[in-house]
């Protein structure tokens, strides 16, 4: 479960300070499928970065699994990200010169998991996201966008984290591919994982069970289906 209380994020550029998030409070329970929607510049990506422990708020409190994480060191945040959080990005962010299998195994390198177990774990999650076995040894740039995003989802799953953050995961995909990717997230949610999806497309957000709307750094709507 994650909960934030009065989170504010301000960027200082010279003499001008920009408030990107203004006193945001929200609570997301385990097993929820939440979509955070808003136009570009609304602060939804910054919110995701803070919720995903990639960034820290200027003020306010953030409890991740009932633990106040606003004061944690960078190394402790890295540990938490590794154990508890999976990320899926709009641009996939796969290593271009590495095979699919190696891309999926990348997070395991930092978990100090023995080498022989890594491959089994990676193959299992690749199977979970429905990628065919004959792609495993291909380089990532030899796949279609939809396949690449499924590899990225497999990578986010390989450490078996309870929460997945997806930042515009369908932004670079065609409709057909988008649907496959969204179906994958739904399936993961059914398995009990918390999915937090950032998007500006309402039909993509419609896949979620709860839609939080954000505008000008403030929450303007929170609808549970």
């Amino acid at each position: 479960m994650i909960e934030c209380q009065g989170i504010t994020k301000t960027y200082q550029t010279g003499d001008i300070s920009t408030t990107v998030l203004n006193n945001v409070s929200l609570k997301i329970c385990n097993g929820e499928f939440v979509a955070i929607v808003g136009p570009s510049g609304s602060g939804k990506s910054t919110l995701m970065h803070i919720l995903g422990l990639l960034d820290t708020p200027t003020s306010g409190k953030y409890f991740f699994d009932s633990q106040d994480v606003t004061k944690l060191s960078d190394d402790s945040l890295a540990d938490l990200r590794r154990k508890k959080i999976g990320f899926v990005f709009q641009a996939f962010n796969l290593l271009p010169r590495a095979t699919i299998l190696r891309n999926v195994m990348l997070p395991l390198v930092y978990s100090k998991i023995p080498e022989n177990e890594r491959e089994n774990q990676a193959k299992k999650v690749l199977d979970d996201v429905g990628l065919e076995k004959d792609h495993y040894q291909k380089l990532s740039n030899q796949l279609s966008g939809g396949q690449m995003q499924r590899v990225a989802i497999a990578r986010s799953l390989v450490n078996n984290p309870p929460i997945i953050f997806a930042d515009e995961p369908t932004g670079n995909l065609a409709t057909q591919q988008s649907r496959i990717v969204m179906d994958t997230f739904k399936k993961l949610n059914k398995q009990g994982r918390t999915i937090i999806l950032i998007t500006h497309e309402h039909d993509i957000a419609a896949n979620a069970n709860r839609i939080i709307s954000i505008r000008d750094g403030m929450i303007v709507g929170d609808v549970i289906k």
């Binding site: 540990d79 154990k83 997070p107 450490n159």
Partner: protein
Amino acid sequence: MRFNDLLKEIFWAISGNKARSGLTILGIVIGIASVIALLSLGQGAKSSIQSSIESIGSNLIMVMPGMQRSSGVSSGRGSAQTLTIADAEAIKTSISDISGVAPVTSRSYQVTAGSNNTNVQVTGTTPDYSIVRSITLSSGSFISTGQVTSASKVAVLGPTTRDDLFGENAEAVGKTIRINKINFKVIGITTSKGGSGMTNTDDAIYVPITTAQRNLSGGTRISSIYIAASSQESMTSVQEQITTLLLQRHNISDSASADFSVMNQSDIASAASSVTSTLTTLLAGIAGISLLVGGIGIMNMMLTTVTERTREIGLRKAVGAKSSDIRRQFLFEAIALTFLGGGIGIFFGWITSLIVSRFISIQGQVTLSSILLAFGVSAGVGILFGYYPAKRAASLNPIDALRYE
């Protein structure tokens, strides 16, 4: 991150951009190879000088005439003609712990034998010369005391001189040579010592000192006295005794105004080796500059790599890499590059030293210490020039890195 994984990441990174990695490594290869080659040749030069100084003779003490001063103007050390055969005899009779005393007068002459001729150093000396300079004969005999007393016109030739005058390995004992238009009978040939250049003892002629004074140089003065101490330990005391004796004989009370100087072989050896050490250090220092340039190449490549892989660094951080993991990855990548360069550089430096040794008379010596030095330096260069790019990579903010276009 396990060390094994670190090595794999480094391998993928370096092999992923072969041309760039190769060129960067080349910079280090050139630096290390030149350091190794120059240190090896310097070491070789030092040993060669050392051995040619040792070939002069062991436990050797030399007495040279001092400077000639006329109304305060010095003509330089060795210019005075203050030593005589009598000085040499006095040393021989009154000083203990010596195994030989040989007065010497030497000068270059044009020497002919039949239609051949050569210009060679002719040394007038006494039988003890073979003891003090460790000269052995391959055929015939050395100058005898009787020949010195009677000022016989006999000569002992070095093997190179024999080859020049009579042809390669020809039988020369018993034949006649002409020095300064005077006939000398060849009585012996010395064994080759393999010297070269200025210290070539194979290109020499030895005649009785009396003959040299009477028939060649025409004076009673001698150019130096060689004394062999009976042991290494007695060198200092023998040297002091000689100084005292000669001061007394020359009626000089203040040792600072002595008209001669006493030196020993180890003085010369240490002077020569300090010169070669300085030169070697200087040359290796110049080679070190190319290593520095190579190190800058490493830093340049690593900075480019870090910029290129900004998104990758962001991703690694997002999936749980700590700053220290990132720093280690890039630092070790730089060290791996310099180690590769160092290894290849040692190989090429070795080859270079072997090739150069074939063309000059110095035998290059690649020592373990110079190899360890090269590895140490390349690791040092890797750490020095890899640290800043690695630190920069580690300090990247994951969000900025992920957003980087």
